[in-house]
Symmetry: D3
Subunit: 276 residues, 6 copies
C-alpha cells in the first residue's frame, strides 16, 4: 500500500477512506464489496428518518471489521423506495428506476476496476423488489461473477426476537430503536417513544398475500396512525449493541459461505475450462 | 346485458369473451379483475415452456368460476422475466421494464373503464420482483383503489405437498407437471419425465440468502444440468386436478377476504368522509 | 425429438407446445417463426374485444399447418395499440413503446436460440406503425437475418370482398365477425349484430390523407357512434371458414416467397463471401 | 402587428421570420401549422443528402403561400429515420424515439401558445412509422384539436408520373432530382446523373408484403448498389417547377378540406355542447 | 470528387450540399465537423425567434469558409432548450433529453462514416448544460477522438463590446440584433427596437450564484417584462458584419489550435503505441 | 417539537437527525434546504475518493450552523458524474441521467412536505452540467418556488487563493487536501503528498474553450499522469479550517441574499395578486 503509515485495521475497510493508489494496491485482496442501501423515511415518533441507512451501514461495517481487509464497504445509499411513507413528513422516496440505475452505476464502476463480487445489504423492506430487479439485471447485462442481496433487517429482527418482547418487533419498533440508540444515540427519541397505533384495516388480506408470496400495495397511513408498527418502549442501547453484534456475526458467517462457495464454483468452472 | 342468449355461466367470466356493450353492462357487477401472468420458459424435459402461463391462467379461471360474475379474468400475459433460463432453448424473456410497462398499460386501461380492484396472479417466481414493483408503482401513480399480487405457484405447491413426495416439488417438477397433465395434456411429456440433475453449486449460499430475504443472481444452468429441480415422475392428471381444485379453492377464499376487507375499508373511509 | 410419442402433426407447430429439449431438436428445421399480434379492443356490439387476436392467431396456425414443421408459431400478443378505442368499455391499450419493447424481447430471445427469420402477422391496423418501427429497429440493432411484417387483416379483407357485400367490410364488420364465428363462436354475438353508425365527421380529410400516405389522428368515437364501421349482419360461420382458408392459403404463398428469396439472398451473399 | 413596415406577403408565413410580439399578434389568424420533416440521407450520385428536407420544406412554403397568413410553416426538421441508408456515406439517422420526442416538443410548445391544428408534411418514407406514432401519441396525450400527417413525396410522385417516364420515379430518381434542380440547383449533380443499379434481391417479398400492408426490414445496400432506385437522367428544372406547383396546389386543396371539415366538426361539437 | 464541375469554393463546405459519393470523396480531407445549435425562442420585440440559429449557423459558415475544405458544417439544429421563455409567444423548447438524443444521433451517424472530430457551436445559453452533458456522454460512450463545444454567443459578445455601448449587450440586444441585420435583415425589426424592461427581481441572487459557478432557475418573464435584457437601438448591419467577421476570425483561430493540438496528441499516442 | 429534550443547537439542522413528527414541527421554520452533492472519485495520491462529498457536506453544515434552524441540510449525495476519472482505481461514476433522477426524487419528496426553497451545493465540477439540467427541469416541471445551485468548490478555491501558493489550487491540490485534513484527517494522505504530473496535452484547447463557455471532453488520464492538477504539499489542517470558515461565511452571506430577495419577490407577486 502506498500510504504505509495509515493503518486501516482494526476498523472496517471503507472504500471512501481510500485514495486511488491505495485502492489500486488493495484490489487483489478485496474478495467482496458490501453495498449498504438504506432509506430516508418516517419511523413514527421513535427514531430518525435515517434509521434504515444507519442500520444497514452499521451492519456492513461490523461484519466487514470481522472479516478484515478482504471485505470492503461502499458508501451507503442514504435513501430508498419509500413512496408509501410520503404522507408522513420528512420521507424522501426514490423511484424504483432511480434506485436500480444507482446500483447499476455503482457496481458497473467498481467492477470496471476489477472488483468481482458484490453483496447488497438492504436495510428497508420497501427496497427489496427494486434491489432484486437490479441484482438480476446487473448479472444478466454485465456477467459480473457474483452479485447477491440480503435483507439486513431480517438479520436484525432474528436477533431482536431473542432479546425483546414480540410486540417490539416492527417498523419503528424496539428492534430498530435499540440499534439506533447503540450507533447514533441522538437519532433515537426516547422521550417520544410510543406504542404503535395500527389502523386495523385489511390486516388479513395483507397477511394472506404475504404468506403466498404476494403483496398488497398500501400507503403506510392506511396501516398505522402514528407511522410505527413496533413498540419501541423496551429498547435500550445495550440491547441494540447485542442485536448488532449478533446480526453482524451472522452476516460474517453468510459472507464466509458466499466466498467459500464462490471460490469452489470458480475452481470447478476453471477445471472444466482446462479440461476441455 | 345486450346478448341475452349468450350464457356466461357457469364458466368463469373472461374479459376476452365479451363485446364492448357486454362489458359496459357487466361493469357494475365486477368486483375484482384477476390478471394471470405466466412465463414462456424451459421446464426441463418434463413439460412445455408454457407451463407457468397454463398454471396461472387455469388457477384464475377456476377461482373465478367459483366466484361467479363478480370476478373477471383478463387475458394471461404469456411471457415473464426469464433471463436466467435463456441458455435453455425455447425460453423467451421479457426485460423487467417491459413487464412493468405491460401491467401499467393493462391496469391503466381497465381502470379507465371503471374497474377498481386488481389481483395479479403470478405463475413464475422470476416475475415476483417486477410484479411487486409494478403493483406499487401503479398504486402510487394512479391511486387505483386496490391492487395486489399473489404468487400462484405458492398455492399450487401448498396443495402438491399433501399429494406428492417432497422431491417432486420444484421447477419442472411433479407439482407443475401434474397440473399441466390435467389442463393441457399434450403439453406434458411423460415419456421424457426424468429426475432433476442439480449442479450442487452455491446451494448453501442461495438457501441462506433466501432465508434472509435476499437473492443470489444466477443463471439456471448454474443450478441444474437438465433445467429441472423437481422430480416429475410421480405426476398424474388426477393429482393435477386435485392440486388445481385445492389451490383454486384457497384462492377463492383469499379473494373473499380481499373483497370483504376492501369493502370494509371503503365503508370506513366513507364514514370518515361523511363524519367530517 | 426427445418425445417420440407426441405427434405434432398435422396441426401447426406451436412454440408453446414444446419442451425445451423438443425445441432444441426442432431448431434446425424451423425456417420461419410467425409472431401473431392482436388487440383487446372494442368491435362494436358484434364481436368480442379479442377479435383481432383470434384472427391473427388463427391465420398463423392455419398457414403454419399448411407449411408443416418448418414454420413455427409463437404465442399471440393479446393486446395492441388501441388508445383511440379507449372511450368504448373493455378496450385495453398498450403504449407504442410497450409493444415495441415486447417485440424486441421476443425476437431477441428466440434469435438467441438460433431462430433466424421472423414474420409479424398483425391483426389490428392501429399496431402497424409500432410494428414497422419495431421491425426496423430490431433489424438495425440486432442484424437478425430476416424480420418482416404483414397486415393480416388485409389478407382477410381481400378474401371477404369476394364473399360479402361491400358494406360488410370494416371494423367490427361481417369480415371479422364471420372469422370469429368460424373460430371461436361464443365470441360472436349474432343476436346483437347491428349496422354501423358512422358520425360522418372529417370523412374526406381522413380519406385524402390516407390516399397520400398520411393519417388523421382521431378517437374512434369521433368516427362511429356504435364502435363499428362494417355491417356484420351478413356474416356466417361458413363464410368465415372460407375467408380464413383463402387468407391462410395466400399467407402460405407469401411465406414460400419469403423463404425462397431469403435462401437465394443468403446463397448469393455466401457466394460473395467465398469469392472474395 | 407590432412591425407594420415588415410585409409578410406574398411569401409564405414562416414562424422563424417572426418576433415574439408579431407571433402574438398573428395567433388569432393562424388556422394551421405545417411541420415539414425531411431527411439527411444518401440519394445516390444524383442529388444531395438534404433532398427530402428541401422537398418537404419547398412544398410547405408553396402551399402556405397559396393559403396566405392563415397557414404558417414551422422550421423544417432537417434529419429523419434513415438507419437503412447508413452504409452510404453522409447519411445522418435519428432513432425513431428521437424523432418522436422532437415532434412532441415542437407541437407541445406551439400548442401552449394557442396554435391548435398541425399537419406534418413528411418528405421521407422512412419517417412514416415514427410520424404516425408521434401524431397518435400527441393526440392521445395532449388532446390537441387536430394533428395529422401527409406523405409529401406521394404528392410529388403523383405529379411526376404525369411528366416523367415510369423509370424516373423512385429514390434519388428524376422526380426528386427535378424538384431539387428547381429549388436548390447547386444540390443537384447533373454531371453525375446515372441509372439506378438495383440488386434484384428479395424483390417479390418486398412487393408482396407492401401490398398487404407490411414491410421487409432491409438496409438500402441490400436494395441498390448505387443508392438510387429511380433514374434521374430525364430531370430538368422546368419539370421540377411543374411538379412542385402541382403538388403544392394539391396540398393546398387538402388543407382546404382539412380546415373546412375541422370547422364543421367543432361547430357540431359546440352545438352538442350548447344543446345539452 | 465525382462531380468535378461543382465548385465548392470559396464558400464553406456544407454537408447538406453534398451527394453521398461527394461526401465519400471528401472524407479524407475533413478534419473537423462544426455542429451549429440554435434556438427558436423569443428575443423581445427586436428580432425574430430564429436569432440564435441564424447566429450559430452564420458563425460556423464564416469560420469554415476561412478554413477551406478541411472544416465542414452540419445542418443547424434550429431549436434548443428554451423552457424558461415559453410564456412568450412563439418559443419552441426541446426537453434537455431530446437535444442530447439529437446530438448523439448526429455525431453517431457521422462518426460511423469516419468523421473523427466534432465541435458544437452553440448560439443559446440555455443549451449549455445539455450540450456539455451530450458532449461528455458521447465521448464516454463512443470514444470518438475529439468532441468539444464552444458558446458562440461568447464570441459574438466579445466583439460587440468593442463596437457597442455596454447596455446593448444582452438577450435580444444590439449585439444579436446587429448580426441578424447583417445576415438575415428581414428577421430584424428595427421599427420595434425598444429598451429592455427588466423586472429587477432577484438580481443579486442570480449574479452571485453565477459568480460561484451556479444558477438560479427562473422563467424569463421573472427577469424582463418585454423579453429582452439588451438594448437593440444602436444596432446597424455594418456593426453586425464587423461583429460576425471578428467572431468568425476568433473561431477560426480556436479551430486551428484544436486541430494542431489534436494532431500532436494523436502523434504522441501513436508514438507511445509504436514504442511499446 | 415533540422531543423537547433533544437540543438541536448549536449544530446545523440535519434532516437525517429528525424523526417525522420533529420534521413536521420544524417545517414552518425551514426557509431553505441545502442539498450537498459530492463525488466518489480519484484525487491523485493525496486525498481519499470521498473528498468532494466531504467538502460539500462540511460546507453545508458550517453554513447551516451559522444560519440556525432556518436552514436545513439534506443527506449528501455521495457520488457524482465522474466518467472521466474511471481509469483511476476507486472512482464510482453515475450517469448524468441517474444524478438528475436522484435530484428530482429528493426535491420532489421534500417539496411534497411543504419545503419550498432548495440550494444544491456541488462539490465536484463534473456534476455542474447535470445539476444545472436538473435544477432547470425541476423548476419547469414542478414550479417549486426556488431552486438554485452553487459550485461549492468555487467558494473553497476563492479562500484558498488567499492562503496557499497558486500551484496548490487544483484537482487533488492543497486547497482540497487542507479541507480534508481539517474535517476528516484520516482521509488525507500526507505521507503520499506529491506534485501533480500534468500530461501537457491539449492545454491551450481546453483553456480556450473554457474561456468561451465551452468544454473539451477528456478523460482525466489525458490531463494528468497521477490524477492531480494541484500541489498538495503545502496543505495543513489549520489552513483547511480557515478555508472552510471563510467559504462557509461566504455561503451564509449568499444564503442571506437568496432568502431576502426570494421574500421580496414573493411579497411583490402577492401584492400583484391582491392588487388585481
Amino acid at each position: 500500500m502506498t500510504d504505509t503509515t495509515h493503518s486501516l485495521t482494526p476498523g472496517p475497510l471503507l472504500l471512501a477512506d481510500l485514495s486511488s493508489p491505495e485502492t489500486q494496491d488493495l484490489l487483489p485482496q478485496i474478495e467482496l464489496v458490501l453495498l449498504p442501501v438504506g432509506a430516508h423515511e418516517q419511523h413514527g415518533p421513535n427514531i430518525a428518518v435515517s434509521t434504515d441507512t444507519i442500520t444497514a451501514d452499521a451492519l456492513c461495517r461490523a461484519a466487514a471489521a470481522l472479516a478484515g481487509a478482504t471485505v470492503a464497504v461502499a458508501p451507503a445509499v442514504p435513501w430508498g423506495v419509500s413512496w408509501h411513507h410520503l404522507r408522513f413528513a420528512g420521507t424522501i422516496s426514490l423511484r424504483q428506476s432511480t434506485l436500480i440505475a444507482l446500483l447499476e452505476d455503482i457496481v458497473g464502476s467498481l467492477s470496471a476496476h476489477g472488483m468481482r463480487r458484490f453483496l447488497v445489504v438492504n436495510g428497508h423492506g420497501g427496497n427489496n423488489a427494486a434491489i432484486t430487479t437490479a441484482v438480476e439485471q446487473i448479472k444478466h447485462d454485465t456477467g459480473v461473477p457474483l452479485i447477491a442481496s440480503v435483507f439486513g433487517y431480517a438479520l436484525i429482527a432474528e436477533q431482536a426476537k431473542k432479546l425483546l418482547p414480540a410486540e417490539a418487533i416492527g417498523h419503528g419498533g424496539g428492534d430498530e430503536a435499540a440499534v439506533v440508540m447503540a450507533v447514533e444515540p441522538h437519532r433515537a427519541k426516547p422521550s417520544a417513544f410510543a406504542a404503535p397505533r395500527p389502523t386495523g384495516v385489511q390486516v388479513e388480506t395483507a397477511a394472506l398475500l404475504r404468506t403466498y408470496g404476494g403483496t398488497l400495495a398500501r400507503r403506510y397511513d392506511e396501516v398505522t396512525h402514528n407511522g410505527a408498527t413496533g413498540d419501541a418502549t423496551s429498547a435500550t442501547p445495550e440491547i441494540g449493541q447485542q442485536i448488532l453484534d449478533g446480526a453482524a456475526g451472522r452476516l460474517a458467517e453468510i459472507i464466509e459461505v458466499i466466498l467459500r462457495e464462490a471460490d469452489a464454483a470458480e475452481a470447478q468452472a476453471g477445471g472444466n475450462e482446462s479440461g476441455r
